[in-house]
Amino acid sequence: MRISPNLVPMLVVALAVLALYWPLMYLVNIPVAQRALDTGAALPCQTAFECATQLRSPVLPSPQQLWNGFGNLMLPLNSPNAIPINAAVTAFETVVGLLLAGVVGFFFAIGMVASRAFERALLPWIVASQTVPIIAIAPMLVVLLGQYGVQGWFPKAIIAAYIAFFPITIGVAKGLKSPDPMALDLMKTYNASPWQTYLKLRFPASVPYLFTAFKVAMTAALIGAIVAEISTISFQGIGKMLAENSRASDVVAMWVIMLSSAVLGILLVALVNWLERLLTPWRRAAGGAAVPAKQARLSRQEGVG
């Protein structure tokens, strides 16, 4: 395996950040510790310098605290209060939501490509949705679904799907429209049926666009799932842990959860990347050039057409 030329610089940067973190941590924590000592709180330490790494609510947690926090929150792997199970639940909701959005988005995209009238009627709203904080609907939607008896993981998946729907629809519609006019003429010279044109030309051509959209939608769906978990009574999930520890003001735990969900987000996007490489073998070593940067860029904000 070839070692990336980025590895050494990345390690250097990571070490530099860590090296800077220590003094910064002391700098911001010592005043807090001093205040705590002044008020005469019972602390297992004498000087502010010592206390800086042992505060209950530090501004920045010490690496030692983070390490212990990880131990506490990770370790009973199957414990309902540990991160692994909760992260798995959130990931499950996100992925189900994404797939749901993929299916619905595909049908909408086909509709928009097949009928310009349909496109005229809906596309402006789908594009506008990209400029609107649709996440704001999540708290209401989850309460509403709860009222109608939709509970557990499913409403979270629905909200994830709802958030992911718009970028996916735009991406797929762009992909379905991406074939060159010459390629469409080619299918016409074969007297191909509309169905054959979709099957042999438009669907395969849209796959790279689908993955580009999935990567954007994945992060959005994850945010949707977590916000949905926070906004309602949840028994499982990253959002529930965040809400609990936020209420309990457990700063170290919040840091641990933040770092874990960052890893979760990165892993989920990496999953899409892996699937993309697996399912689009023709692009391997082509430098992923099948969706040129310009098109990826367009799909982000200009929508279709």
Binding site: N6, A117, P133, S246, M258, I266, A293, Q301
Partner: protein, 322 residues
């Protein structure tokens, strides 16, 4: 005059007729049921269904005539009619089934609530949009731009920092929010920091691409002029990056609104659109939630289009406008 003529004689009269009948049916029902507190009979529900069908069918027919218009305002007509159809149908259905307003408020109720509480919402919007989103956006974008300039200049930084920047875009900001709110406090600066962080990374990645994805021939041309590095940036790299920067700026408007609103879900000083949505959703004040969402959406769209307008003014030469 011409569109009316075309509508009547251009073969679209059936579509317009269906559309008119459908809307008429729905509106008639809404008017008839305005003060009722009883659920409607099944026959009336059937009428609503027929009205909706008429509207959809009519819309599908009349939308055809707007397909090829170059005028964006006229081209928008089908979309506007679609929204209107959905709103009127929702109003009729909610009234027919007498859904409690605590669950799903009717569009008309949302509208009147919006007018009633507009002062509160405007104050919320000032806090969320101007103090949190805008301040964070400006700070985050400026820092991102500077970072990208540095990264594009020093290969070591590119290799060491850029991969992290790309990774950061897949991190869910909701997880960041509680920590930052706890660290900085529940007033607006904590949300501004959240916003700054969320817009920072796309800005770095996009600007960097704009500064470095340059045709080798252009670089050779600069070299043939014996341009120094500052001149190369001034005359080639920065202009080339402008479209990319505007992409990040446009993407950033949405991210900024999301960041500010989600940040407020984790603690606010009693003001802000996100705070309002969170609180009112918890006590079934959905008419206020919808009003807040409308305000947030209108501001989001306006902000995005403002940046888009600036972009067209400044990068009119770019291929995407040809």
């Amino acid at each position: 005059m011409t569109p009316v003529y075309r509508a009547v004689f251009g073969g679209y009269w059936l579509g317009w007729l269906l559309l008119g009948l459908g809307f008429g049916l729905l509106l008639w029902f809404i008017a008839a049921w305005w003060d009722q507190s009883e659920p409607a009979s099944s026959a009336q529900k059937l009428l609503i269904g027929l009205g909706f069908l008429g509207v959809v069918w009519g819309l599908a027919r009349v939308a055809q005539q707007f397909v090829d218009t170059p005028n964006p305002l006229i081209g928008f007509t089908p979309a506007a009619l679609t929204l209107l159809a959905l709103l009127v149908t929702a109003e009729a259905l909610l009234r027919a089934y007498q859904v409690p307003p605590g669950l799903i408020p009717t569009p008309s109720r949302v509208l009147s609530t919006l007018l009633e509480v507009r002062d509160v919402l405007l104050r919320d919007a000032f806090q969320t949009v101007v103090l949190e989103a805008l301040v964070g956006y400006l700070v985050g974008c400026s820092l991102g731009l500077l970072t990208a300039l540095l990264i594009s200049r020093y290969v070591f930084l590119e290799r060491g920092l850029l991969p992290y920047a790309a990774l950061f875009s897949s991190i869910p900001i909701v997880a960041l929010a509680p920590v930052l709110v706890k660290m900085i406090g529940i007033d607006w600066p904590s949300k501004a920091v959240i916003v700054a962080i969320t817009v920072f990374f796309p800005m770095v990645v996009n600007t960097f691409r704009g500064l470095t994805e340059i045709s080798p021939l252009s670089l050779d041309l600069m070299r043939s002029y014996a341009a120094n590095e500052a001149q190369q940036y001034r005359w080639l790299r920065l202009p080339n990056a402008l479209p990319f920067i505007f992409n990040a700026l446009k993407l950033g408007t949405t991210l900024a609104m999301i960041g500010a609103i989600v940040g407020e879900f984790f603690g606010a000083n009693g003001q802000g659109l996100g705070f309002r949505i969170q609180i009112e959703a918890g006590r079934f004040g959905f008419d206020i939630v919808w009003s807040a969402i409308i305000v947030a959406s209108v501001i989001g769209i306006a902000w995005y289009n403002l940046v888009g307008w600036l972009e067209r003014r400044l990068t009119g030469w770019h291929v995407s406008y040809r």
